[in-house]
Symmetry: C2
Subunit: 150 residues, 2 copies
């Protein structure tokens, strides 16, 4: 149903969207970061709660408050990105590195897993689902695995 050319174009558009999202994070531009999301986006974030839905996920002030905990750019690098697109539905997954300095001077380097789900509406791809996480240790410590590297 979907030609190879269409699939390649879709994948290129989605790669561009994700690159733009990373650039928005680096510049701590919440408006630009959220522009790639559909109004009904369901977000599974690194931090609690279990999920944010729609307006809660799109709360620009909450994103800006998080950006304000960083002293400078928040560098997110996507590695091993794979995108599967067909028709008007797509998903992608990658292993990401987040790097930056918190306002208290703490240097963060965190590798985490990222999945996005997308839907094309009126010719434009929009993110309708995000899932970012680190695994946790099943040794009874209850600790998140914050120091993993690919």
């Amino acid at each position: 149903m979907t030609t190879d050319i269409a699939r390649t174009t879709d994948e290129a558009q989605i790669r561009e969207l994700l690159a733009d999202r990373a650039a928005a994070t680096k510049e701590r531009d919440a408006r630009r970061f959220l522009a790639s999301c559909a109004p009904d986006v369901v977000e599974f974030s690194l931090a609690p709660p279990l999920q944010y839905k729609g307006p809660e996920a799109l709360d620009r002030q909450a994103v800006e408050a998080w950006y304000a905990t960083w002293a400078g750019p928040v560098e997110v690098t996507l590695t091993e990105l794979e995108i599967t697109a067909g028709g008007d539905v797509a998903f992608g997954h990658s292993i990401n590195r987040m790097r930056g300095t918190k306002t208290g001077g703490f240097e963060v380097e965190l590798w985490y897993r990222s999945t996005v789900g997308l839907r094309r509406t009126d010719g434009t791809w929009k993110i309708t689902h995000t899932h970012d996480s680190v695994p946790f240790l099943m040794d009874g410590s209850g600790l998140a695995a914050l120091d993993l590297k690919p």
Copy 2:
């Protein structure tokens, strides 16, 4: 491009696939659990490492070893499941509850987030990506949030 009827059928097939996967987990049937996966599946699991790819994700003995850490059925209940399907690509996300008793007698009740990506090949939906996680506390404790409830 995709009719409403086709979309409904796709969604029903995927819901059935996910229900069968939960049933396989309950019965600790690794062969049946893995049958829903494509050979090139990329898995982001609750536990480290960051990812398992293809043959590593499909290692039946590893799944059986994990099942063997449970004293009885591992009940996985999917809630708030939403599926987006179009053409031959789909993804779904849900908030899941895992319940059971470990061999040492420890009672587990864990709520976690689950995302799956699927591709239809030769008329059959197969899982090509899974992402299961809990969030972690950003309070400096490094703890995973293992006691969240929806």
